[in-house]
Amino acid sequence: MRGLMKLFSAIYALAIYGFIFLPVVVLVVFSLQSTAFPIPPFTGPSTRWYEAVMNDPRLTSALFNSLAVAIISSVVAVALGFVSAWGFARFVLPGSAVMRGLITLPLTVSYLIIGMGLLVIFNMIGLPKNLIAAGIGHVVINLPLCFAIIYSQMGDHQINIERAARDLGATEWNVLWLVTLPILWPAIFASLFLSMTFSWDEFVISFLLTRFDTTLPVEIWNLLRSGLNPKTNAVGSLVFAVSVVAAIVLELILLRRRPA
């Protein structure tokens, strides 16, 4: 009976992980196809489609655009999120709870709605569709997340530690630089990496707010319009690889923190 239960659990686990990862596995496997169609039978392995991606200036420039947007928008989102978390945690503000609710609200609004709203506003104020517009969009969606993560780490104990530093003669700048930031470093790093992965994968807002220079997910979509092609598999696998690396780095930081 026990053996049977174990067998069922194993099958169930296999089904779950298969359900999650099979599409990705298929994507990666057929990116190594040596013939022109990403369908069985498997004819590889071959790196010819990766070479094709690297030799496609539109894809490589989109890749750099994506990296730039991800890094810059995440740094801005973390900085703004940190400052607002600091403000909410340190000062008694009128309607603090409502304001905190409002700042995290965009987490529940669909990217499509946010993207359309930004499109309308940018049209009104005359900001052209470009990477900066997309970057602003990514700050809008990632700021609430950064705020929520960093704010959750600013408890009473943290406040007392800052009071102790001030009591010993530290200026506000010293408190921030020598005490608050070093203690909150894991939370700040975690929100930075999460923001970067979200910005990296984000399609809808980038699609609505860019025109000529665009990000990688939008360029992949352009590629898909001309049909399935192992090149799309290859570039998709690259996107996936970058996300995996970011996730692993994040895990390592958070795991290393736990024993302390």
Partner: protein
């Protein structure tokens, strides 16, 4: 009399509508160990926060060494605080924690390491210099917090329930060490606690607080032997409380009428004043002698053997009589349900007018 180190004058404070401190004045002398004793909500921690600069009082002023510091932020004040949760910097070594205040003053690294090491020697923890706070026990963190606050040589060191998080044995041990360290460094300590034993053991000057006011202050011996108010008589040690009324007044003595009859007391009071008579448990007896005054009879409701003595609680059989608390010799045979005759010597009656 030396000049006062700290003068807190007519301090009032409130959080929202609730008054927390009502016109409190307090003087702290150089080199003294002051303990603010009171139940939670008595305003003792608020008073300490005002002294430390974490709160600006609604009314009143704080003078340290004659300078008005009422509006001065904590960073600029010659005070340092040992927080109840220690508030050590988790990312810094113990040595850097202790040296932090010196670093803020611009002391060079080698010098502040030397001073931090000295401070750790004073608190008996020199071997922890390179460790991180999370590698230390609660008692050790407490010592590091003390060293960190002492190393900058404050005019006043503030301790906010510093022993509250420690277990009883460690608390008594740290309490002895705190007193020794205070005498050794000579800095004035102001210590907040709700533990009356801690207060009696540590204080040179004991300040009993209740509901935002100072009920009584003085040496712990004086506060215990001659409490100024009923609250102080029951919070700083236990007492049997017998209410009464002043019936006659002569030039040297008064007569206080209670449910147990009239007692002559050497004191002054107005005729008709409502007063309270308090008797400390060690003065309450269950066996009368020729000098005893008696308080009717009472039924024993609890007997707790405490090693060197027995603590006996007895309910008066007289209508609206008090609950008697007595500490009697451990050899005295008494059991729950026994009828006893509580009594004491007349000179041990403490008369309280408030």
């Amino acid at each position: 009399m030396t000049e006062a180190l700290v003068e807190m004058k007519n301090i009032s404070h409130s959080f929202g509508r609730a008054g927390v401190l009502h016109d409190v004045s307090l003087t702290i002398n150089p080199g003294s160990y002051t303990v603010l004793l009171g139940p939670s909500g008595s305003g003792k921690t608020t008073l300490l926060s005002i002294l430390g600069g974490f709160l600006v009082p609604r009314k009143g002023s704080v003078l340290i060494r004659g300078h008005n510091c009422t509006m001065m932020p904590p960073a600029k004040r010659p005070t340092t605080t040992v927080f109840q949760d220690y508030a050590l910097f988790p990312h810094m070594s113990v040595g850097n924690n202790v040296g932090f205040g010196l670093r803020m003053k611009g002391v060079v690294k080698s010098e502040r390491d030397r001073l931090a090491h000295e401070a750790l020697v004073i608190v008996g923890l020199p071997e922890a210099f390179k460790k991180k706070p999370h590698q230390l026990s609660g008692g050790q963190r407490q010592r590091v917090a003390l060293a960190r606050a002492l190393v900058v040589k404050p005019a006043v060191l503030l301790l906010d329930e510093p022993l509250g998080a420690l277990d009883l044995k460690l608390r008594r041990q740290m309490q002895d060490e705190l007193k020794i360290i205070q005498k050794q460094v000579g800095t004035a300590f102001v210590h907040v606690t709700h533990d009356q034993e801690e207060a009696m053991a540590l204080a040179d000057h004991c300040v009993v607080m209740n509901q935002g006011r100072i009920e009584d202050e003085g040496t712990p011996e004086r506060v215990y032997a001659k409490p100024a108010t009923r609250f102080s008589a029951t919070f700083m040690g236990e007492s049997t409380i017998i209410p009464g009324e002043v019936t006659s007044v002569t030039s040297t003595a008064i007569s206080v009428n209670t449910v147990f009859g009239s007692f002559p007391i050497i004191a002054t009071a107005e005729e008709g004043a409502k007063v309270t008579l308090a008797i400390r448990p060690e003065h309450m007896r269950l066996i009368r002698d020729s000098r005893s005054i008696t308080f009717g009879s009472a039924e024993v409701t609890a007997v707790v053997f405490q090693g060197s003595f027995k603590r006996v609680v007895a309910a008066s059989k007289t209508l609206s009589g008090p609950t008697f608390i007595a500490k009697i010799p451990a050899t005295h045979e008494v059991a729950v349900g026994d009828t006893v005759t509580p009594c004491c010597h007349i000179e041990n009656l403490i008369m309280l007018t408030k």
